[in-house]
């Protein structure tokens, strides 16, 4: 049921901008997590998940690093600072930004066939 999608496809669908030099054609994800509560992300997210978040500070990138996430998409047009971009490059985490708000971003990715951690576990 679940599909693997390239981050490049996701970038196109969300009309997102990429801020690191990763080749998004080569990075895949099959699960997505939309959250602003990093505590929950840290406790419940499996590796290679794509994180969508409205939070914009360096700890979002560190959270992605510890969990080996596929990348982070900042929603509702939030633009990462240069400091965050530098950190993401150092920690090898792709970061993107989309104008879509959280709900729409999640909806578009769900329609694309991507799932979450919770349903997959069931």
């Amino acid at each position: 049921m679940q599909v693997k999608r390239k981050l490049s496809e996701i970038k196109e669908l969300l009309q997102a901008t990429s801020y690191t030099e990763h080749n998004l054609e080569e990075i895949y994800t099959e699960t997505v997590c939309g959250a602003d509560l990093l505590s929950d992300v840290l406790a419940f997210t499996k590796e290679k998940t794509l994180l969508l978040s409205g939070l914009i500070h360096p700890q979002v990138i560190r959270t992605a690093e510890m969990l080996d996430l596929a990348g982070v998409v900042f929603v509702r047009g939030k633009i990462p600072s240069q400091e965050m971009i530098d950190l993401a490059k150092t920690k090898n985490i792709p970061i993107l930004s989309t104008a879509y708000p959280m709900f729409e971003s999640c909806g578009l990715l769900y329609k694309l066939g991507l799932g979450g951690n919770f349903l997959e576990e069931k």
Partner: protein, 292 residues
């Protein structure tokens, strides 16, 4: 031919990563290491890399008979240890194995420091390769990649400056990198990183300063995070999911949801939370062998 064999030295056949036990460890811990690794004896080495003895299955049986698994390794180890020099030939090692009943010898350098361990099997195996008589068994599945590679135990220290919010997590990040480089399995690296990061965030939220120390060995990763903060009044309450005393500014960052300690507990094999005279101490133990 004989001359060539003599040239094959112990340092060429020994195992460089020494699995050892500290003299102050309990016999129980030594037993656990030996059982999980399938060893019949391990060297007892102190923090200065000084070889004090060997603890073997026979020693452990003696402790078991006395119902003394909690006793210290140094009380039950065999202190008279026969070592072999790294520059000795395999021929000399074979003679040593023949003359003594031991299955393994610690290998020492000219300064007397333990640099490896050599077993009868290591010597025979290398000799077989040397003589060209080693053959792969037919139709037998190859052994799986080891879950955890052998390496020499390491200590990692990182001072946590809690007021520098943007740098919080750098300690966990460094630890994660070190573990990955040592060849620790992905799952263990990830669990260690999550636990260390949550602990670092706790220091950021509740204290001004702290320190992370990690004792890393192939059998166990112990992460100790000590801070100079107010400590915890009610530890069982703090372990409950959703309980938090974090200030609003940390909640706005997405933390302080009362998931930190429970998540550390979930990521670790063992967690000890204790108040100290200065603040709080978390002792997080992650044991790679447990998932093997």
């Amino acid at each position: 031919m004989k001359k060539n064999k003599e040239q094959l030295l112990i340092k060429d056949v020994m195992n460089e990563g020494v699995v050892s036990v500290h003299p102050e460890a309990s016999v129980q811990e030594a037993k656990d290491i030996m059982r999980s690794r399938g060893f019949s004896g391990i060297p007892v080495i102190d923090k200065d890399n000084c070889l004090l003895g060997i603890i073997s299955v026979a020693d452990i049986i003696r402790a078991l008979e006395n119902d003394a698994l909690e006793a210290l390794v140094k009380e039950y180890m065999t202190s008279r240890v026969i070592t072999i020099n790294a520059n000795a030939s395999v021929g000399q090692a074979l003679r040593l194995f023949h003359n003594h009943k031991f299955g393994r010898f610690p290998v020492v350098n000219n300064e007397g420091e333990v640099v490896g361990i050599v077993t009868h099997g290591d010597v025979i195996g290398r000799l077989a390769v040397f003589l060209g008589i080693d053959e792969e068994p037919l139709d037998e599945e190859k052994e799986q990649e080891p879950i955890n590679k052998e390496f020499i135990p390491q200590i990692f220290e990182y001072p946590i400056r809690a007021l520098d919010f943007d740098r919080t997590g750098e300690g966990a990040s460094s630890l994660k990198k070190i573990l990955a480089e040592l060849g620790v399995s992905r799952d263990i690296v990830r669990r260690s990183a999550i636990a260390a990061y949550e602990a670092e965030i706790n220091v950021m939220i509740h204290a001004r300063e702290g320190k992370m120390t990690a004792n890393i060995s192939p059998q166990e990763i112990t992460i100790i995070v000590e801070d100079q903060g107010p400590g915890i009044d009610n530890i069982p309450l703090a372990m409950r999911k959703g309980y938090s005393t974090a200030a609003d500014k940390f909640r706005q960052m997405g933390f302080g949801a009362g998931m930190g300690l429970p998540n550390i507990k979930k990521s670790a094999d063992k967690l000890f939370v204790e108040n100290t005279c200065k603040g709080l101490r978390l002792i997080i133990k992650i044991m790679p062998e447990k998932i093997a």
